[in-house]
Symmetry: C2
Subunit: 342 residues, 2 copies
DNA sequence: AAAAAGACCGAAAAGGCTTTCTGGAACGCT
DNA sequence: AGCGTTCCAGAAAGCCTTTTCGGTCTTTTT
């Protein structure tokens, strides 16, 4: 019953149709359209015109079946709504999109079973490669070593060092954040950050402390771990100001935390950035640009991560697989919340 | 040169391999694995075991080529980073994912040329259908009527009424927002909203005014159009309070605006929700849950839009195409920023 | 003028699978 | 014993394209 008589869609024409209309064989039509040389110019002309008349588009399925390569890649993400998957996805789309590669998007919803299911489905569709995007920077289980296609892990590295993982350089991010604050002349720097269960929180703190140590400084108080929320930013700032009113900069583990921090600073009469400079991480524009003043933040260059992952898939396909963890540099985006001490 | 000698990937086994191992013909193997009836139970057993030993996965390309249907759908979005595409994308992935459908994701970056390019690429991959996701609710040009597959427009409707568009009911959203404020006993309601160039702003305002009129009320001042930013929310609120200090509720055109509104209300000593109730639109959790107090907001049910779009593609595929604009209901998510007047 | 060399086109195979059709064997019946 | 059934398995066609190889036909060379 399914086959109701809809507006009978014009079904795509085949190479055979083109050949018939041009009065040549299928083989010749193929050669003409693909720029092969064994075709007379006049014949080629005729075939091309016929193809246009029929608006012929070669069936990629048939092509792929023959070639053994499909020009498709599977993108396996774990949280679409997360703000990390999306830029990576964009970067990958970007790197692929220019060429002739299409991306299959699958969301495993953080479920290993569903992930396996998707991997199988993608493999049976004969994707040429796989990119696995995590939702946090903590290591995740490998898909295994014996897959028939190259796999690249993005954002969340694989636990297996034999796999290739492209991740943001969180330690470096912490360093350059502190370096920027130091360059602004700040020396009494506190660090308020998120959930210590997150690798990102620990590594950023590690980088920040290292940069401080390199400058012969110690942080104002210990780094304060909590949660990734504005509420925590407010609470931690209240405590911080009570105990260390001399602070002249707060490095926040995320932009959300930074907004909470700035709210309390303002309420308590501290000027940003004149009295206290504030920085965040992630450079989430909806938060940074709406803050008062706009928030300086460390951008994780996630699109770059996505692009690099896509390029790594290409490289592996071309016979140069890599392995290990490849951190990508981050960058400070300077806005109004940090400025030199005057 | 590309073919460097990598770790020679195990190449997938074919039905022929399975048949040989099981000692039957390819045809029999196919029938055995697909549950066709003309196979002796014992033979089927043997084939299945062989398939498992070889971890055989049927090549979907070959299958699709034969069947004329690929079980793939193209998802054409215009702004991946926008917060509207993503939930829709999730809804669609959701509706499809359960079954045997895979989604090709393409981002046209708002460029018509690139969009055409993607459409062609998707068609040559023989997708079974297309979902076009816009980045705002304003009508967009149609892809045309003579495509070989069904097309469904999501969020942004097509300009051509012969197409099928699934959109959030913005007018209805305005109505239910005001209804909720009325239910809270508010009667002096102002509306501060975004860019009047956006359909969403105009329609939400229209719905809000209609609901007020139904209750025999008029808004406090005219709706104030501006931009979708916290800054505008702050500025508009300052003007509003100067001119109409009696206001007891502010309906904001977006959650961002609402946050700006709430900031100024608090700074001026108005309590939310006791003195003034505040509502937003979009239910963007990062903003609503971090607000003080958490912000009541109208959720556009975008995942529902995505699901409905996916189902519409199925329906069209099954021979029941629809057309016109199908608005999907929205819903109020009540949080701390609205409460009954006491 | 005959032979060699191109130039151009088409037949056919391949890629992996599904499906229809044919045919052989085993069975029950008159 | 002969006939018609039923049950299973295999051969082959088909999906659409690319590519190899062989074959015509025209042109050049000796």
């Amino acid at each position: 019953m399914a086959q109701a008589t809809g507006p009978s869609r014009p079904q795509p024409s085949t190479l055979g149709d083109v050949a018939r209309l041009a009065g040549v064989s299928i083989a010749t039509a193929s050669k003409a359209l693909n720029g092969r040389s064994q075709v007379r110019a006049e014949t080629r002309e005729r075939v091309i015109e016929a193809a246009e008349r029929l608006s012929f588009r070669p069936n990629q399925l048939a092509r792929s079946l023959l070639a053994g390569r499909t020009g498709t890649v599977g993108l396996l993400t774990s949280d679409l709504e997360g703000r990390f998957s999306i830029p990576i996805l964009m970067g990958a789309e970007d790197a692929f999109g220019a060429g002739e590669v299409a991306v299959f998007l699958c969301d495993a919803r953080g479920d290993a079973i569903r992930e396996q299911h998707h991997v199988r489905a993608l493999l049976s569709r004969r994707v040429d490669g796989l990119i696995v995007v995590g939702s946090r920077t903590d290591p995740r289980p490998s898909l295994g070593r014996d897959l028939p296609v190259p796999v690249v892990y993005a954002y969340a590295p694989s636990e297996d060092p034999a796999d290739l993982s492209i991740v943001p350089d969180s330690v470096g991010a912490g360093r350059i954040a502190v370096d920027h604050l130091l360059a602004c002349g700040r020396t009494r720097i506190a660090h308020i950050t998120g959930d210590p269960g997150y690798c990102a929180a620990r590594e950023r703190a590690e980088g920040a402390l290292a940069a401080l140590a390199d400058a012969g400084l110690a942080p104002v108080g210990e780094p304060r771990f909590g949660s990734w929320s504005e509420g925590w930013g407010r609470a931690a700032t209240a405590m911080l100001l009570d105990r260390h009113p001399e602070v002249d900069a707060v490095l926040c583990g995320s932009d959300q935390i930074a907004r909470g921090v700035m709210d309390v600073l303002r309420e308590r009469g501290h000027r940003v950035p004149e009295d206290v400079a504030v920085m965040g991480f992630d450079n989430w524009k909806i938060l940074t640009s709406a803050a008062r003043p706009p928030l300086t933040s460390v951008d994780m260059n996630l699109e770059q991560v996505g692009r690099a992952a896509a390029q790594a898939v290409f490289a592996a396909l071309a016979g140069s697989p890599r392995s290990g963890i490849e951190p990508q540099g981050c960058r400070v985006v300077i806005r109004g919340s940090t400025a030199p001490l005057s």
